[in-house]
């Protein structure tokens, strides 16, 4: 039995054993954004500490940035104060800031990979739970709190307890119209929202092997929704091809050295795991949520379950979920009217997500009853989409084409649901109030399913509408 990738990286990044029983782990890459970093800088100042390795921290602004106009000052004075704070903090502490001024901002988990900052074999943290996204490259990447942001700034390290590793094999072949979003929603549905506690998830199998990097990022992104702080995929030729030539990726002779090292880190066939789960690809259909956590999901052809069909440990929130969502057991989701459609977020706001949607919406019109937004994950995604004419296709179909940011995934900017509106959303959380209204209702699904719902004005099977 050999070591899996997680344990190889852990061991090579271990600085010391601490008295607490935790390990002190070196952090290669630290990403920060405007919401969870200002207090950490405040703590550093209060303690009179400097940043140990400013060149290992990169900043951007994503959560509060408006997507309809970038005009400053922002109408929301609190948001304005936050964007001022991150710029000033980066200047004072000499941190590279991907800013709106230079048009390089975007969702932190979209720009890390696209700049080539996210690399195999590294430890990556950010004050954001969806940092697990970067695990798609064979990195140990996870979200941290603000006191830990302070720790990383001051010491480039963290006090951590080692996780167990669960290998999740997805073998077989996905049917047409079934996407990586459906795969991860299915995994969470099967293993539960608490299932990953104490584990890092290693995703593998023929389905994962065949996926593009962007599809893999969607899978790793939602690991935390299954309770797993870390999710990763072993690096392979697809990973290397994606990275080669990117701004911060190794170049020249260093490239070959890096690839040799990265290859040696991947878990081998005889790697040891604490648990193994096998899922057959053919059992996965387009999947969507009906409740108030991402595990409360069903396939598009099913009906909302009854209490008896729910695992006992999950029964506690069943009634609460149906009451909040104003839905009934044993009814289909197909045909449910929606008010808003949102395509974007660190889960599904990348170029391939937008290309896939554009492929199908040509010639269709968004329902007059639906407000439909498409929010690119970064300014680079926006520019690439526009150079391919995708924005024209979207706008002709009746979608609003916006500036980059987190937008309606968590509604810290002006993009919000009103009252109890229902939103078909390509984001990652369907928590109560998540999209900005305390009564707002979220249905998670793949971008193509969101597009289909926007056009029909109701939840629908995209495979039928688009003849996939």
């Amino acid at each position: 039995m050999s070591k899996n990738l997680f344990n190889k990286i852990w061991d090579s990044h271990k600085i010391a054993s601490l008295n607490s029983g935790q390990d002190q782990i070196f952090i290669d890459l630290h990403l920060i954004h405007e919401v969870t970093s200002p207090q950490a800088f405040g703590m550093l100042r209060a303690l009179g500490l400097k940043i140990a390795y400013p060149q290992r921290t990169f900043a951007t602004v994503d959560h509060i940035i408006p997507t309809s106009t970038l005009k400053r000052p922002y109408q929301d004075s609190l948001a304005e104060a936050m964007i001022v704070a991150i710029k000033e903090n980066c200047e004072e502490f000499n941190i590279k800031y991907f800013s709106p001024e230079e048009g390089s901002q975007g969702i932190v988990h979209v720009i890390g990979p696209e700049k080539g900052l996210t690399q195999p074999g590294t430890t990556i943290v950010c004050g954001d739970s969806h940092t697990s996204t970067h695990g798609a490259f064979g990195a140990i990447a996870f979200g941290i709190g603000t006191s830990q942001v302070r720790d990383v700034l001051a010491t480039q390290s963290l006090a951590l307890g080692r996780l167990k590793v669960r290998r999740i094999n997805i073998n077989g072949k996905l049917a047409a119209g079934v996407y990586s979003k459906d795969v991860i929603l299915h995994i969470i549905r099967v293993l539960g929202v608490k299932g990953g506690m104490g584990f890092a998830y290693e995703y593998g199998g023929s389905v994962i092997d065949a996926m593009s990097m962007e599809e893999r990022m969607t899978i790793c992104n939602m690991s935390i929704e299954g309770g797993a702080r870390v999710g990763y995929i072993n690096p392979d030729q697809i990973t290397f091809d994606y990275l080669q030539g990117r701004e911060y990726a190794p170049a020249g002779e260093k490239w070959n050295e890096a690839v040799t090292k990265w290859k040696s880190l991947a878990s081998e066939a005889d790697a040891e795991y604490d648990d193994i789960v096998n899922i057959q690809a053919e059992s996965i259909s387009p999947t969507l949520t009906w409740g108030i956590n991402p595990g409360q999901a069903m396939s598009i052809g099913e009906k909302i379950p009854t209490l008896e069909q729910i695992k006992e440990e999950d029964q506690g929130t069943f009634e609460e979920a149906l009451e909040y969502m104003k839905l009934e057991a044993e009814k289909p989701m197909v045909g449910l009217k929606i008010n808003v459609a949102f395509i974007g977020s660190c889960t599904n706001g990348r170029l391939s997500d937008l290309e896939e949607v554009a492929k199908y919406v040509k010639g269709f019109k968004v329902s007059s009853n639906v407000k439909a937004l498409i929010v690119p994950g970064s300014m680079q995604v926006k520019r690439e989409a526009e150079s391919k004419g995708l924005n024209k296709i979207f706008e002709e179909a009746g979608f609003e084409w916006r500036e980059a940011g987190c937008s309606m995934c968590l509604a810290m900017n002006p993009d919000k649901l009103q009252a109890d509106e229902i939103c078909a959303s390509s984001s990652n959380r369907n928590f109560k109030g998540r999209q900005g209204s305390p009564q707002g209702r979220t249905i998670l699904m793949s971008p193509v399913m969101v597009a289909a719902a926007a056009i029909k004005g109701e939840v629908t099977d995209a495979r039928q509408l688009f003849k996939i």
Partner: protein, 196 residues
């Protein structure tokens, strides 16, 4: 940095029922537009405590008998979702100094421990017993971390907690920064080696 040794927490407790209470519910995202944590306490559980006209809904947290409660009791998977430290900070500034729940989401658990807020896991049955005793007696709870016991009236309930967190609280090392800083020479050594 000298930190308080947290060997026990005493106080009144309040039960907020429900499973999978996520950090968006503990502190809705719209209240995170701030550059300091002070002042977050008032927004704790805002959307279940107030209606849209900001009128109190007389939530359990706002009922007179629960004023000054310093121990929060809840269900399974408490604190799931976002890594926002705003959630434990809001609970801290609201006045909570310990949380008892069936289970905790990992990032939230770590964030709480770093702030010196013990997160105590108890089985559903034990939580029910505790809540029932509270309802009957309305007395104070003592969480004895050294002996891993919760005491209320004559009742003693044992609990489990990961040893690393327990030790760091009892020994006053729950904020890891000092320990990390001590090893900076080793950090520099490893950084050089990894940067090769």
């Amino acid at each position: 940095m000298t930190l308080k040794k947290i060997k026990s927490v005493m106080g009144k407790a309040v039960f907020v029922s429900g499973n999978d209470i996520d950090t968006d519910r503990i502190i809705p995202a719209r209240f995170m537009k701030c550059v300091t944590f002070e002042g977050l306490g008032q927004y704790t559980f805002y959307d279940v405590r107030f209606d849209q006209a900001n009128k109190s809904l007389n939530h359990v947290l706002d009922q007179p008998e629960n004023k000054n409660a310093s121990i929060l009791i809840s269900g399974a998977n408490f604190g799931c979702g976002s890594s926002r430290e705003h959630a434990p900070q809001a609970l801290f500034y609201f006045g909570f100094r310990a949380i008892i729940a069936e289970s905790f989401a990992e990032i939230f658990f770590g964030n709480c421990t770093t702030l010196g807020i013990p997160c105590i896991s108890l089985s559903k049955d034990k939580i029910n017993l505790l809540v029932k005793t509270l309802a009957d007696k309305n007395s104070e709870i003592k969480i004895d971390l050294e002996n891993k016991l919760i005491e209320i009236e004559n009742l003693k309930i044992d609990f489990q907690m990961p040893e690393e967190a327990l030790k760091s609280l009892i020994e006053g090392q729950w904020d890891s920064l000092a320990a990390l800083l001590e090893n900076m020479p080793k950090v520099k050594e490893l950084e050089k080696q990894l940067a090769k």
